[in-house]
Symmetry: C2
Subunit: 340 residues, 2 copies
């Protein structure tokens, strides 16, 4: 299996994020996350780690807006001088409450138009890292489109919280959505998001599209980020009505409950009969993940991989979250081996 990986992510290394209430805490979405996964995969004889091809900006601009890319590209240079934390761009204190609101002028606060949460500090290397991650996803999409059973895009930063022109929850560019959009030129695509957190960005991007089915299993947002999306009543809109599905899960969700719910989601996907599957793979479902309250075990993750692979769809696996650096590599392997 081809594993697309770029070390450009190493330059995206915020020191702190700005959590609630003005505290600074060490940034959890670290370069070590991807490094530990790639080092485990280097040792797997079925994995071929290769750099991404270059697809340029066009496929990214088919998902994200040009002003949003401009923000990501310029934020660090423009606003680092205002930031209380050296090496990170300013995080605004005011946020749009309505996408109809105006973005104009050039005060740092207006970057709040592009942020839904404070967890997205931009550093000097963030834009480059995010672009490289998107190219990894596109390269994986191409491999799958060219006939590979599966490919793995080892993306960092992750992407599934990023909407068309909004970042949040460690995510800047929606790698899975960019890949799915590229693949959608060749037939229907399903995106299955198994990250612990609801894939609100992916949901947002394809919410009115009947040709891209989006399905997300996650901790109920009534207790977890992204808080304002990921509920069962959100099922798509307009021509996309019926083509989004959320499965919010309770505290303590174990292998049994998870797999039962997953099977329901997989039935949905099978009935949709897509040409390709994109799997947003967050390993923060793991019981020992610092962000998780699930009870999913390592054997549970093996079984999750097998269940998804049993769809027999050409599948692009895209790395999302997962913050237990010790376990991340072996959990990713546990998921991927089912596709080998």
């Amino acid at each position: 299996m081809k594993v697309f990986y770029s070390d450009a992510h190493l330059a995206h290394q915020p020191r702190y994020y700005f959590p609630e209430g003005g505290q600074t805490e060490p940034f959890l979405e670290t370069p070590e996350r991807a490094e530990c996964v790639v080092s485990v995969l280097h040792k797997a004889d079925w994995a071929e780690v290769v750099p991404p091809e270059e697809f340029g900006l066009e496929p990214i601009l088919s998902v994200h807006s040009a002003p949003y890319l401009d923000y990501l590209r310029t934020a660090y240079a423009e606003w680092q001088s205002c930031s209380p934390i050296e090496g990170q761009a300013f995080i605004p204190g005011s946020y749009t409450i309505d996408r109809q609101m105006v973005l104009t002028g050039n005060v740092p606060e207006q970057t709040g138009f592009f942020l839904m949460s404070v967890h997205v500090p931009v550093t000097a290397g963030t834009y480059t890292a995010a672009l490289a991650a998107a190219q990894c996803a596109l390269s994986g999409a191409q491999a799958v489109a060219q006939g590979q059973r599966a490919a793995f895009a080892l993306c960092r930063p992750p992407g599934h919280h990023a909407g068309r022109e909004i970042c949040g929850g460690f995510c800047f560019l929606n790698n899975a959505a960019i890949a799915a959009q590229w693949l959608s030129g060749q037939g229907k695509v399903a995106i299955l998001d198994i990250d612990y957190h609801a894939g609100n960005g992916t949901q947002d991007i394809f919410y009115e599209r009947p040709d891209v089915l989006t399905v997300s299993l996650h901790a109920n947002p009534d207790r977890e980020y992204p808080n304002y999306a990921g509920y069962t009543h959100e099922t798509g809109a307009g021509p996309g009505a019926g083509y989004h599905r959320n499965y919010p899960l309770p505290v303590g969700t174990d292998d049994s409950l998870y797999l039962h719910t997953l099977n329901e989601a997989l039935d949905l996907i099978a009935n949709f009969d897509p040409a390709h599957l994109v799997l947003s793979a967050g390993m923060d479902i793991y019981k020992d993940d610092p962000l998780s309250d699930f009870a999913i075990t390592h054997p549970g993750i093996v079984e999750i991989g097998r269940s998804i692979a049993s769809l027999n769809l050409q599948t692009l696996v895209v790395m999302e979250g997962g913050y237990n650096v010790e376990a991340l590599g072996k959990n990713v392997v546990a998921l991927l081996v089912a596709f080998v």
Copy 2:
């Protein structure tokens, strides 16, 4: 002139606000602001400082939503334990980007539904203080409705950034809007907002109403809070189309430019022919205000008062911003004397 004042505001004394990027800075919207104004007015023979009457919650609920009032009432008790700053409720790190989004569950982050900025820390006394300020505004409205030439509601916290169910910029309940809504039962109302910052909350509340004309002169939001509203193209919607007007003003706006623009706004109001005028009076337009980049002088404020009084409308003046505590009292007097 009756001056409605309650010392309940003394209990709303956040120590810090949470400005951009996770820094804590001393809270600028202090009890001293109202105290210095009331002490100057106690010395004015034309001013009669009286406590507000009690109008209950009903007129407040005709402007703000019940869940929003619940948030203000319960936030401190519910979320102070999560806050890194003792005596202040938690400020969330995630914000709604769309009013269609869901408010559910009970995680502190979901208070981000009700906040458009981090500048609204709730303390033990915030709800009581905000209610008392609204009662001051209602008492002033009643005085004017009963035939007084003018009344002054010495409200604190201020209100004009507070929308139907959102707080921001030091504001929790929109005192001017609550008074205007109450007055609108007796005929058309105009609200003129001369605070340095755009009155986005007031704009929001009456945006689709043709019977309440809202007009705001302010620093261009392309450089100042509230950033996302207060632009010229925002002129009302639906039945309210044409009944909102913004006058964004440049850096260095002096008496001459201000008075010229004000006269245009006053013509609008005169043509609207309202039964009553509500004046959102922020004194942060003053040249030596720490938040201002205008060059408005004390004689300029005298002239602003005279110009507005020349409309010969029964007028309720409502205190909004103004952060130069030394000058605040004499500037308020400069504005009010025109109505004596």
